[in-house]
């Protein structure tokens, strides 16, 4: 394996940053591209928190969890900046030329819990019950 594919060993849980996952729903007047949504959110966060604030927020917009039909998605941020990210999301006014309102459905500690709480996903154990 070449050097560029080598990754550092995963940190033990006690040394990892504490994260929160925000499930959001986009209410919009028309359809829009997901890439425009990412740009709109980053634009708002950078305007509101600045570059340093955004770096402290440890922001990550999940691409593979986005539900295009229901316009539901997940954003990850550090546990100290949840309120700031919520405020930044409230200040997103347009995505491209489409007027939108981003509504945060709730906050969880893991992606799994987010999916189960807000995306209506169930586990096999629940299914057998």
């Amino acid at each position: 394996m070449t050097d560029e594919f080598k990754r550092p060993k995963p940190l033990p849980p006690s040394l990892r940053g504490r994260r929160r996952y925000l499930a959001y729903q986009v209410l919009s007047e028309q359809k829009f591209l997901f890439q425009d949504l990412i740009n709109g959110i980053w634009h708002s966060v950078l305007n509101f928190l600045g570059e340093f604030g955004a770096s402290e927020a440890d922001l990550w917009i999940a691409k593979d969890i986005y539900d295009e039909k229901k316009q539901l998605g997940v954003i990850r941020c550090s546990h100290t900046s949840v309120e700031q990210i919520r405020a930044a999301l409230a200040l997103v006014e347009r995505i491209g030329d489409v007027r939108v309102v981003i509504k945060v459905l709730g906050v969880s500690g893991t992606i799994k819990a987010t999916k189960m709480k807000f995306f209506g996903e169930t586990t096999l154990t629940e299914f057998t019950k």
């Binding site: 305007n47 409230a90 509504k103």
Partner: protein, 243 residues
């Protein structure tokens, strides 16, 4: 028993005074966002328009609480006093658009006013001082944080607005003046969910409990007190009629 929180937005404009959407559309969207009550506060344009708004509000069928209100944009103190005395007996919510210092101060000193919104509007300072806030606390006038002012400003201007609002929030905390967060929306796309308004208030310096109160208990108290007065149940401060 756990009671669910009731969220209120006391400042939304309908298409009856330059807004974009009808009252029905606003209510439908407010329900989606999770509100329990909305006050339609149109700009004051004479008593005829106000009666039209009251009629439209009373005719609408909805599960939400809906209240007619008025947003007063007065040029001077005399005009402000005149309009307040005309509309106080007619509407549930009176909002005064601040900006001019004499208007800010006059609104704070008038117990008939419910909310003084954006006292820092187009000013180089925060627009409030010690006498204003002492009077506002005494007369139970809430200071309003208006989301529209923040939402449609950019960069340097927005940072000035944040700075002025934070100063007002700090002063309000000191003088124990109630704070209300409203969207001030002119259409449904200017509205935001109540929890997001809480986050904005929190970021601007209100602690989380007070930020929740600014969209729940404080607007609810304003609405209930005014309802009692309009129905004639409240005779004077502390004296009420009971069934």
């Amino acid at each position: 028993m756990v009671r669910a929180m009731k969220f209120y937005d006391l400042h939304v404009q309908s298409n009856l005074s330059g807004g974009e959407n009808t009252i029905e559309q606003i209510l439908k969207f407010a329900e989606k966002l999770g509100y329990s009550g909305i006050a339609i506060c149109d700009n004051y344009q004479g008593l005829e328009k106000l009666n039209g708004l009251k009629k439209a509000v009373s005719e609408v069928e909805t599960d939400l609480e809906i209240y007619p209100g008025v947003n007063i944009q007065a040029k001077d103190v005399n005009e402000l006093k005149e309009i307040i005395s005309k509309v106080r007996e007619k509407v549930n919510i009176i909002i005064v658009s601040g900006g001019d210092y004499s208007i800010n101060r006059s609104a704070c000193e008038d117990p008939r006013v419910d909310i003084l919104t954006h006292p820092e509007f187009e000013r180089p300072d925060s627009g409030l001082d010690e006498p204003c806030l002492e009077a506002a606390t005494q007369n139970n006038v809430a200071i309003g944080i208006n989301l529209r002012e923040i939402l449609y400003s950019f960069r340097k201007q927005r940072s000035y607005i944040f700075n002025h609002i934070s100063k007002n929030v700090r002063l309000c905390n000191h003088f124990r003046t109630p704070i209300v967060v409203c969207s001030g929306a002119q259409g449904v796309w200017g509205m935001r969910s109540p929890r997001e308004l809480v986050s904005i208030a929190n970021v601007l310096g209100l602690d989380l409990g007070k930020a929740f109160a600014s969209v729940t208990s404080i607007p609810q108290l304003i609405v209930e007190e005014n309802k009692k007065t309009l129905e004639g149940r409240k005779i004077t401060e502390g004296v009420e009629e009971h069934d």
